[in-house]
Amino acid sequence: MSDQSAVVGTVTEVFPDWFSPDSRPGYAGYIVPSERMREAAGYLKNRKHFDMLTSVTSADYFPEDRIEMVYHFRRSTGGEPLRIKCFLSRVESQIDSLVDVFPGAELQEREVWDLMGVRFTGHPDLRRILTWEGFAGHPLRKDWKEPFFEDEIKPYKSRWPEGKFIRAEEKNPLGDNLCFPPGFDPESWVPDKDEILYKSMTRVAKAGEDGMDSDTIIVNLGPQHPSTHGVFRMVARLDGETVVDLKPVMGYLHRNHEKIGERNTFLGNMPFTDRLDYICSMSNNFAYALAVEKLLNIAPPERAEYIRVIMAELTRIVNHLVANGFLMNDLGAFFTPVLYSLEEREFILDFFEAASGSRMMCNYYRFGGVVRDLDENMMSMLKAILERLPRKMDELEKYLIGSEIVRIRSEGVGILTPEAAIANSATGPLLRASGVPYDLRRADPYSIYDRFDFDVCVRYHGDIYDRFMLRIDEIRQSIRILKQAVRDMPSGPVLTGKPQYQVRVPAGEAYGRVEGPKGELGFYLVSNGKTNPARYHVRAPTFINLTSLAGMSRGNKVADVVTILGSIDIVLGEVDR
């Protein structure tokens, strides 16, 4: 954290009452009084060039009366993140919103409000985001209990040795996953009809240049819609066919990942991370393993590092194949490109299946290594894939990028300027296609990426076509890394220490992140020295990338919105968690 102290060292001299180091053992970063947070953020941004607010989250320290807001700032030129915290009281949890300094905080602050109940004053649109309006309580607070609540932490006592099987429904008075506030009368309930949502959308009065007075209409796309890549909903206000304003509505796949994660053991979360971004389970595993390893202060053996990189890069290829395929689907090249990409994906999935036992839900990484070694057979399988892929990439390129339809529909559409991308905390291909060469593998290297020779891909137009091409470039770079990794892979063990099912993790906090295929995937963990995390937060790249969606869509035709969304490449398991 040398970077941090250098920066704030000077600040503490100038403003001694602004930044005080967080000196609790296992913790790092600085504590800022909550009423100063907005100014401090502005100062960091304007004077110290921390121009990206990568993550906004919070942690509940019940039974103490304290909620901590945790902010991670980054420089778009690289380096470690700077962690800033604010302490709030649980009763009057309120803090100034950072949206006007960092627009990228918008969705994240809504999430904190929804799940933790922290009010952000000055937030332009503070509504529930993952649950729905009218939902009772703020689920991530430690004293909030769900209907099927059984115990604070796993393992539950009722499973062994007297583990009589009983369905959770049978213990619930309503026989279902339901629980209502006392005295609730279902008949007098008026459900939310999305009126606030519709009202919150800008309504641009028609200039009336053609002398005609026309009204705007609201169109809902999704959640059951083929173009939304899952259960995602967009509400668009249209003037004719042009989008005047657009709001993403999510939460249709909110599966309480974080709440369940705080109950699980550290190891038990590993298979759950598979289900975040279910196309790239390996990189989810990777980021989570890195975060826990930071807490445990262990490092995997050499061979395991190589295997990890191999798996992560294969995952990137899989993801980009799928993303590009479905983007073509949205452009109207109905299914043929997807089928070609999925064909190549199957070979990689076969490899994953042979290594980990499952095609998609790999659960392959362990703290301090990986679960099992790759044998000779698998290595030759990998080599064969690496031999086939470049050939097929050429074919795909020939098939698609020359096509006039693709170019007309994607060039110059959905432009995201580099300034807007940075301000909106975009990461991953979305950021790099906008001309910001920011890749965590280079900007803040982790694992053994500093040993490989590869280029950070970057494109400069920030339109759909560039995002598409950038993914193809990245596939080629990944193949390059893979070839080096296969060449240099040493032999040896793949796990440090003994396999343990209940790891006791020293108290403290850690933020582990990787450059996932979709952007910076981070896990913020707080441990209180027990076997399960006290706070488990996922910094989901696609969730935050969606902040840019509205800006990119305004002024475009409604048919283009679909492709713009496709070019962001979202996965709902991660957006909604």
Partner: protein, 200 residues
């Protein structure tokens, strides 16, 4: 010329289309519904038709493949003896907590007996993660390869009890030959070491 790009692209599809017939002609009958045909379809040399015609053709699953867990039992003179000692580790490690074990208690002494009285897995919760099999110290629970278990009624069929979970060692050895061999070797080595220390 406008449209040239599209034509170029379409030539790729055409190539795929023609290759199907070329490949069929080249490989003859053995390409479909034969073991070597399936092996070919999984190899990266594949060109032409990609489809595996389930149920006539089935892709073999790799050894590590995991679906629902099962319990291994040994057959000793016609009696089925579960390897499980009901130590409870699998139920503790299971992330969604879907393993339910009732330990057998000796009715006379009241002491626990190392075998489960009941062992249930709710397959509607199980996430096929394989952690139970990974951490069982007695190699008693393993991940099955049988995926053809769709049913019409989940209330009746989706809570697997011992009778449904128990499968013989021979079955385990057949689906996971390599794992089985390493485990047996380790066990034999351990036994030999024990003998060695005992005699010394």
């Amino acid at each position: 010329m406008y449209g040239l790009g599209i034509l170029k692209g379409l030539s790729v599809t055409l190539k795929h289309f023609i290759l199907t017939f070329v490949d069929d002609a080249k490989r003859g009958k053995g390409r479909y519904r034969s073991p070597q045909g399936i092996a070919y379809k999984q190899s990266t040399e594949l060109s032409g038709l990609f489809t595996v015609e389930y149920p006539e053709e089935k892709l073999p699953v790799p050894e590590e493949f995991r679906y629902i867990p099962f319990l291994v039992y040994e057959e000793e003179d016609g009696e089925k003896k579960l390897r499980c000692t009901s130590c409870g580790i699998c139920s503790k490690v299971c992330p969604p907590q879907c393993i339910y074990i009732v330990r057998t208690v000796d009715p006379e002494t009241g002491k626990p007996v190392p075998t489960p009285a009941e062992f249930c897995i709710d397959v509607d919760i199980c996430m096929n993660c394989g952690l139970c099999a990974e951490y069982c110290p007695f190699d008693a629970i393993k991940m099955d390869h049988d995926y053809e278990i769709a049913s019409f009624d989940r209330m009746k069929h989706h809570v697997f009890d011992i009778s449904r979970l128990a499968k013989p060692v021979s079955y385990y050895a057949s689906i996971r030959p390599k794992n089985y061999k390493t485990e047996e070797d380790a066990r034999a080595a351990k036994a030999a070491a024990k003998q060695g220390t005992a005699s010394a």
